[in-house]
Subunit: 590 residues, 2 copies
């Protein structure tokens, strides 16, 4: 071993000990003939001192050290004259009697500090240097900790981690697969899994009862910010359970994580909200409930005053922004422009100031008398000092969604979204089916194997569209601070229910056989009632770390073009490899 202690280990109790440390030179500075070196490793930083009267050779070496040199230092632990209370080793320093340079370093392209001077591109290219910085080291340490706690909890609950294959079969459903040409089976391809969904259900058929896996998944989608072509899931499935059992088990897991990793107690039981309430009050199926400012329907209060925009709307909704009555006209105009951007897509924004003296000032004063505005304010539950923001339209869910986006933005602006505050909840009672006007048919909101709620069986077998729209699914999402961290469902295990589901979705017997035949066949051999869920592990880590960038929580992420700029991948391959695979690239337009 090149060291007797790590750079994060020595304390006042160690004074007088002879020690050997090894690590990287964080910085070194001369002070009155003495050389001070901050030596860094994964565990911390320890100050080394080479005194002015040290042997000339040692002084020379100490003077020659550059940033990020790897050295081994031998010396004695001394109590520091001026202590540094910011670091755990700040009470001591090492009086160095020998230094060995284990490896030199060329000058790094950016500073290895908490706040680096390097831009995003250069740090991505030299990811292995960026990873030396504390923010990334802390992120990966947290990730390890969370994975370990997840495994311990699930193991304690009798879950078995079972590895499912990565070289599987391309399926015509869902997102686009990454495929892998097979050399031994020319013209044929494996696919990388988008999730182990089929395999985990097979494991339930096989009787494994409680399965989990922290597993990589792959989706060849056009990437948006914060999407990765490969990502990690905590994937779980249980047999002989109802929805309540699944929620209880994974509420327990999240409670353990919050407690053991962050020292945070979350409510027991966790709040639950129906999908309908989430949409009505928060305009989102992943509501951020750290703050109120909920959406209120004001249709009745706002209609019939001769203002055609509102009179013609089938739904009018509002949020009341606390303290924002003071917003200037310029600020309100800016907000109006903000909601008109294509990302939100509103046609406009109506405002009503509720002044401290109880008077109103609005953009619709022409049509609404103060008592009309008071009625709206009452419906919007606005208080003195609030700014009421109103949107309207023909599609209730669409208006609510826009109001939901605005609500989040106002929450950000008002500092309501502290990443160190955690407000987890379950969203339940999702609609089973979504009607699509264009194709005039129903689609499964989750997937075609999600079970309807048992109490909705009559509705599920009804022929009426309005009945079918009311059927709720045995599905659930775990939502934290406005982000969906996980979700799942109870699966259909009964062949008759499955048949009815295909019927409702307009999937014929032949198409069902083609798309799902394999799993349907497996289910004929005694499938138990089962259900499960999956958490997005990268996102769990980011949120626990108080960040919304998953990229910092992945050791070697890809950029928005799906490239790893560090290793320069993807890249061209040798003709000999293509020949062996019996494929040709066929790139157009080059």
């Amino acid at each position: 071993m090149y060291r007797s202690h790590t750079c994060g280990e020595l304390r006042i109790e160690n004074v007088g000990q002879k020690v050997t440390l090894a690590g990287w030179v964080q910085k070194s500075r001369k002070l009155g003939g003495m050389t001070f070196i901050d030596l860094r490793d994964r565990y911390g930083i320890t100050q080394l001192v080479v005194e002015a009267d040290a042997p000339a050779e040692l002084v020379d070496i100490a003077t020659s050290l550059g940033r990020e040199y790897v050295i081994q230092a031998v010396g004695e632990v001394l109590e520091r004259q001026s202590k540094n209370s910011k670091i755990p080793t700040g009470d001591i320093e090492i009086k160095v009697s020998g230094i060995t340079i284990l490896n030199k370093s060329v000058t790094p392209p950016f500073t290895i500090e908490d706040e680096s001077d390097g831009g995003e591109d250069i740090r991505a290219k030299y990811r292995y240097l960026d990873l030396r910085r504390n923010p990334l080291k802390n992120a990966l340490t947290l990730r390890h900790r969370i994975a370990h706690e997840v495994r311990n909890y699930l193991d304690s609950q009798n879950f078995m981690e079972i590895e499912t294959p990565y070289l599987i079969k391309s399926t015509p459903e869902g997102a686009r697969d990454f495929v892998v040409p097979s050399r031994m089976n020319p013209g044929q391809f494996y696919a990388l899994p988008q999730s182990p969904q089929t395999f985990k259900q097979l494991l339930m058929v096989a009787g494994y009862d409680r399965y989990f896996q922290i597993v990589r998944c792959f989706r060849d989608e056009d990437l948006r910010a914060d999407r990765q072509p490969e990502f990690t899931q905590i994937d779980c499935e249980m047999s002989f359970v109802e929805q309540e059992d699944v929620l209880g088990t994974f509420e327990g897991m999240m409670r353990t994580l919050f407690k053991n990793v962050l020292g945070v107690d979350i409510p027991n039981p966790l709040p639950r909200m129906s999908w309908y309430d989430a949409m009505d009050k928060y305009g989102s199926d992943k509501p951020d409930v750290r703050f109120g400012m909920t959406i209120h329907e004001i249709t009745d209060a706002a209609k019939g005053k001769g203002f055609s925009v509102l009179d013609g709307a089938s739904y009018i909704g509002a949020i009341s922004v606390p303290g924002a009555a003071e917003y200037t006209r310029k600020q309100v105009d800016e907000l109006t422009e903000w909601v008109k951007r294509p990302q939100v897509g509103a046609k406009g924004l109506i405002y009503i100031r509720v002044n401290q003296d109880g008077t109103f000032k609005s953009s619709i004063d022409k049509f609404y008398a103060p008592e009309d505005l008071a009625k709206i304010a009452e419906a919007a539950e606005a208080k003195a000092g609030d700014l009421i923001l109103v949107m309207s339209g023909d599609n209730k869910r669409k208006v609510q969604t826009m109001l939901g986006v605005l609500r989040i933005e106002m929450g950000n602006r008002l500092g309501y979204r502290d990443p160190k505050v955690f407000a987890p909840l379950w969203i339940v009672d999702f609609p089973l089916l979504e009607w699509d006007d264009e194709t005039q048919r129903f689609y499964a909101m989750h997937h075609p194997f999600t079970a309807p709620k048992p109490e909705h069986e009559a509705l599920f077998y009804s022929d009426k569209k309005e009945d079918l729209e009311k059927v709720c699914a045995n599905a659930y999402d775990f939502v934290l601070n406005g982000t969906e961290l996980g979700g799942g469902s109870i699966r259909i295990h009964n062949a008759d229910v499955q048949k009815r589901m295909f019927e409702v979705l307009g999937i014929g017997a032949e198409e069902a056989e083609y798309k799902f035949g394999f799993i349907i066949n497996a289910f004929k051999f005694g499938a138990p009632p089962h259900g499960g869920l999956a958490f997005g592990f990268d996102r769990v880590c980011a949120l626990f770390g108080g960040s919304d960038s998953i990229r910092d929580y992945i050791a070697f992420p890809k950029n928005n073009q799906g490239r790893d700029v560090m290793i320069d991948s993807p890249s061209e391959i040798d003709q000999i490899q293509l020949d062996e695979l019996q494929i040709k690239t066929d790139v157009k337009g080059e």
Copy 2:
């Protein structure tokens, strides 16, 4: 929850309780009007009884149950009249008051018993049914247990599990890569990792100090029995360590596994054997040391008696097989044919019987007087009753390897290879370089980043071939019962040593830059001394389970053609997918 208890849980203490169980019908039988049902789940089997005087409806349901039906049963726990001591629930049975059929099953294509009547092919196709059988369930349970213990141990030693990417870059070194066409970067490919070697070394450069990962690896090789295109490694790397530190750490891991998983104490410290000793005595770099029967060189004792085969050989070796002097001529002839098969490749086999009365009978009596044979027997350390088997040739290592294969075969035949006996050891002091006569150059025995032993530095910088052949590597293998379970090395972190290594291997600066430029560049920024190893996780599980078939320890394995016959993968994909990827299949000869 569909049950109050599992099928493995109830004991005599539970008698009188009202319980609900759920599971699969293992078997059911009628006996004097009563129906007995063995109900199975992952946790065990519980006997259900429907009495003759039960309500007719219940009797009807009980009578209708087929094998592998999924049912829920309600009833009372009774003490059994005739107990079954073979199963933990054998003291009790459930007097059933109600049965719900949760799912029917068509008749499975083979019996779900410890010894199934199904052939390998049909069981592979219905893997989800085969997985219901105890041997496979026990194998996967063991696998989960081992993974969990590995993680707990390494976490306790400050190792961090860090996920490395699966979509990486194809490299021109090593085995064949599986590649993944990139849709977003047409004409370019990702590669699936053969191991995370580069990334784990980068993590050391990044200062992560102690890394591990239980990780999938991919190799597109022509498959031999018991090779899988995707397999799992326990992959580890440490910084600021010497060989001794790595061996100590992972000896500790294996000791913990043996103790916690199998209740077996392995020696502390573990035996170590140099590669040279392993080859000389066992004819293998992965010796099975559960039994002796080691190889002895008898060159001096056997030469010079006018028998041209031996007189012309540069190396003559022998093993003495205990008790085999009684082998008939036919048995010896069969052995001779066995070693002549291409898998062994010997030209022939000389035998010498050491009879109980001290006389000899050999296939070379014509040339060797009894006292000559006695000299050979002495050199071969043969005792009365032994059968000495002799091979010779020009290439010492080749002859030793053939004798090693024969030794293992004789060990099998004599029952010396009990899978419940464990004899782990380290193989150390591997040669750094292997000379290839054909290309007249050295190759790295391990890989070009493996460090030479520090004490062999002078030899390493010598120009003489015979000096370079003597250089040992800082490399090590963990061997158990004749199987290499893991191996690794201390890596070269010093640029000068690396340069010399490339020089010795005849790799020019340009070629080095092309093949290894990326990692060499990363090393310029302060690479710490580091080393590591990887264990073959599938194989660890199989050996711990007393099996030599890794396939039983993988939930969904592929066959020898790299196919998953259950999901029928690989398979053809849609033209639209090929078009999006801008590739064409180009299959010849079809």
